[in-house]
Symmetry: C2
Subunit: 482 residues, 2 copies
């Protein structure tokens, strides 16, 4: 029933000191200079070939002692050539656990440097849920070979783990759990655990199941320690527990971990049959990746980029966003084009129009950020949307009057025309109202259509406040001034 | 030595069902309609006053069973009036733990509704580290009263916890740890734990200290379960562990949790004296807050905003950012103003100039996102910065040629002038080069000055690519076309 992560056996406890030493060595090799707090280290003369060899052996020795996550970190920080040199120094039987820790883009470069045999050997030692994490990056034939070598139970687990989309609880799930029966005493449980010799990482609770593997309750490990061994499991177990389903959104599961301060949570199917568990660390990793991707997406980078990726890959990664923005810019340009006659008559309009468009975009994005956050927290519904709507309108009306007055004053100081400065003020206020209106409507609409309101909202609102701002300002000026 | 979180005693396990029921009741009261998956619930007729009273009692009963985090969630989702009504229904002895779970802005509204006596009573039951979390929001006199009522040990803990800045490990630390001596056997430890009756939440390891409270090692609780009770602690304990210092950046500590999959980590002073511990849940909460703040800051919202905050508060929260942007827009406007003569002669320039400025801002922000991320991961240093520099320049040169050609083609199709479209292409390429240059330099410089490169970089680059874009385009046009 219980499986342990043997590959996590080596001392996972702090090898920060060793990391420093590797960094030191690496700096001798001029690989990683000034890595971690090493800015003060003087540059070393190029070591002669004998010392060089000597140090490579020492380096390998130190790498062996490093936590796989630290090795992954070093690999990610190195340019390709040096990265592959370190990768070669790493013991083959640790390749799998290190691949698990690297970012997708760096993992690609490492896998590309390995042949099929090495890949099968490296990944074969991993747990089924871990193989599933690597699977998208593995060549098809390696994956087939892997399937052949796995024992039946793990093969089933791998198939199940691979069947869930990346953002489902099923994809975060592992199978390292200890299950017990409720009829036995704590004494029996303790004896059973002792026979296991080692518990899976992050075992904070045991799962109580019936004959059909249905989850009946959970028994926190700490209760085993403080309670009378003669007590029955059924008397101690908690039956009110958070249960996750493999098809739940992973994002929601991580909220559960945050909200209830959990370490692990069981995953069950429709019939309450225990399928696996999710650990807080898996949830935390998911969160980190998610928030990193969000930051990248905001800037229009479609995925994390290996710092040392070839130029054409970087261009491709950034091109979609620039293309979209080019198109919206072309549209804005045509809006201005429609008023060329007005600009020719009053060239000050050309100088003032970017102010109105720009502030509209900024204000609209503020509103969107608020609304997207409320949607993500599930704090928004139809009746409250109306209230928020009203509030955002008022807030932007106030901001519009303040910003508009500032811009109007600016226009007056430069161009000494009261009517022009009135038009600036009016256009600014109107554009900020437009921004507030759409800042609420766009994310709510995207959400209603079942799309992620965090994606796209910002591009759309900026496009509209740009073109809209130009149109409102130039239009008003044409009507009122010319 | 051991203290437990008594206020977490009540069943923290899933009360999701109860939450549903409260939501159901709330929806009858027309408080929270369509809250969680409740969109399908039909609206209920207004209940008569008798039923109304009946339901309030039932509601209170259900609230008592809810996890404090769930109550906090409900409070945050409600407009002020309804929020305070629910707050009144909550048992007074749970006020403290609920305040801990609410967001800062909502906490303010709740604290404002309580008198000093209630606040002292509510917070007096919390642990020292928890009081420290609330302290910034508590009135001065309440804090003084609290100090008086606390036992000496806790008073010291509170003083210590309050002495660290919000982003230091010391501020994440709690004091709920179990310490043991290395000379004893596991049997003795087991007997000791049994006497405690309950272990603090998230106790995955015991801390082995000497007579002077110096940390000698850690003993994972799971080892207690599977090993022979006659074994000495000294034989089982791990001496290589992650040790945090209270002055460490909290951000770095959370990286340690992510990297090594830890549940708890000890905090020690310079002399290795054990001060407290940090749990993975504290790290996770810190992460969430940090990433939420980042999203808010990106949009220029200085702090999380209560969805139902009064208008003037929202205006204030958003005003700084708009003011900064107004100033940069005024500068850009003056740059255009300097070329009014050119625009008068060739009005097409006015329509084309926003394209060059806008794409420059987008491209610059992409570069900044990459660099800020590399800095945050500690993957950047002087020698690598040069490589990245070179790469970003090449990437943006390529993007500049592509975007520039597209914009040039656009200009040609509209205005049928080859020389104009050549100027557009050149200006775009130059502005994208400027964006790449500054996209690397700005965050690196901010970082070197000891400032957070994530803050401000985006405003600065957008300001420069706007003004710079206008200047480059209009300048080139003036020289080459007029």
């Amino acid at each position: 029933m219980a499986r342990t992560n043997n590959h996590n056996d080596h001392d996972t406890r702090n090898l920060q000191e060793n990391l420093q030493q590797v960094v030191h060595l690496l700096s001798k090799h001029r690989l990683v200079e000034g890595f971690v707090k090493m800015q003060e280290t003087p540059r070393y003369e190029l070591v002669n070939s004998l010392v060089h060899k000597q140090n490579l052996a020492e380096l390998q020795n130190l790498l062996d002692k490093l936590h796989p996550a630290d090795i992954a970190y070093i690999l990610e920080a190195l340019p390709l050539k040096e990265r592959l040199m370190i990768w070669d120094l790493v013991k083959a039987d640790r390749d799998g656990e290190i691949l698990l820790e690297t970012s997708d883009s760096v993992r690609e470069t490492l896998i590309a440097a390995m042949n099929s045999g090495e890949l099968v050997a490296a990944t074969g030692q991993l747990d089924a849920d871990e193989i599933a994490d690597l699977a998208p990056d593995l060549p098809r034939n390696v994956l087939n070979d892997l399937f052949q070598t796995l024992p039946t139970e793990e093969r089933e687990q791998l198939r199940s783990a691979m069947s869930y989309p990346e953002d489902a609880v099923g994809a975060l799930m592992d199978f390292d759990m200890v299950t017990i029966r409720k009829e036995v005493t704590l004494e029996v449980v303790l004896r059973y655990l002792r026979r296991l010799e080692e518990l899976p990482d992050q075992t904070d609770q045991l799962f109580v199941v019936d004959r059909d593997e249905r989850l009946m309750g959970v028994l926190p490990v700490n209760l085993l320690l403080v309670n009378n061994p003669d007590t029955k499991v059924s008397a101690m177990m908690s039956t009110k527990m958070v249960k996750l389903h493999p098809d739940d959104k992973a994002q929601q599961a991580t909220h559960v971990f945050e909200r209830y301060n959990l370490i692990t949570a069981p995953v069950v199917d429709m019939n309450d049959k225990l399928l696996g568990r999710v650990t807080v660390n898996a949830a935390m990793d998911f969160n980190r990746e998610k928030s990193e991707n969000k930051a990248l997406n905001l800037a229009g980078l479609s995925e994390e980029e290996d710092l040392f990726a070839p130029v054409w890959k970087s261009v491709k990664n950034r091109w979609v966003w620039l293309a979209i923005n080019l198109i919206t810019a072309f549209i804005a340009s045509r809006v201005i084009g429609a008023f060329e006659g007005s600009i020719e008559k009053l060239v000050a309009l050309a100088a003032l129009m970017p102010i109105i468009a720009g502030i509209g975009g900024n204000s609209g994005n503020q509103t969107i950020t608020m609304i997207v956050r409320a949607i993500a927290l599930g704090q928004l519904n139809a009746s409250k949307a109306n209230k928020l709507f009203a509030k955002e309108i008022v807030v932007s009306a106030v901001n519009g009057i303040i910003c508009g007055s500032a811009a109007g004053l600016f226009a007056f100081l430069i161009y000494h025309s009261i009517s022009l400065s009135v038009v600036v003020t009016m256009a600014m206020a109107l554009n900020l109202l437009l921004a507030a209106l759409l800042g609420v409507l766009i994310p709510l609409t995207l959400h209603k259509l079942g799309r992620d309101p965090a994606k796209g909202s910002s591009v759309i609102i900026t496009a509209i406040t740009d073109s809209g701002g130009f149109f409102i300002f130039l239009g008003l000026a044409t009507i009122l001034l010319l």
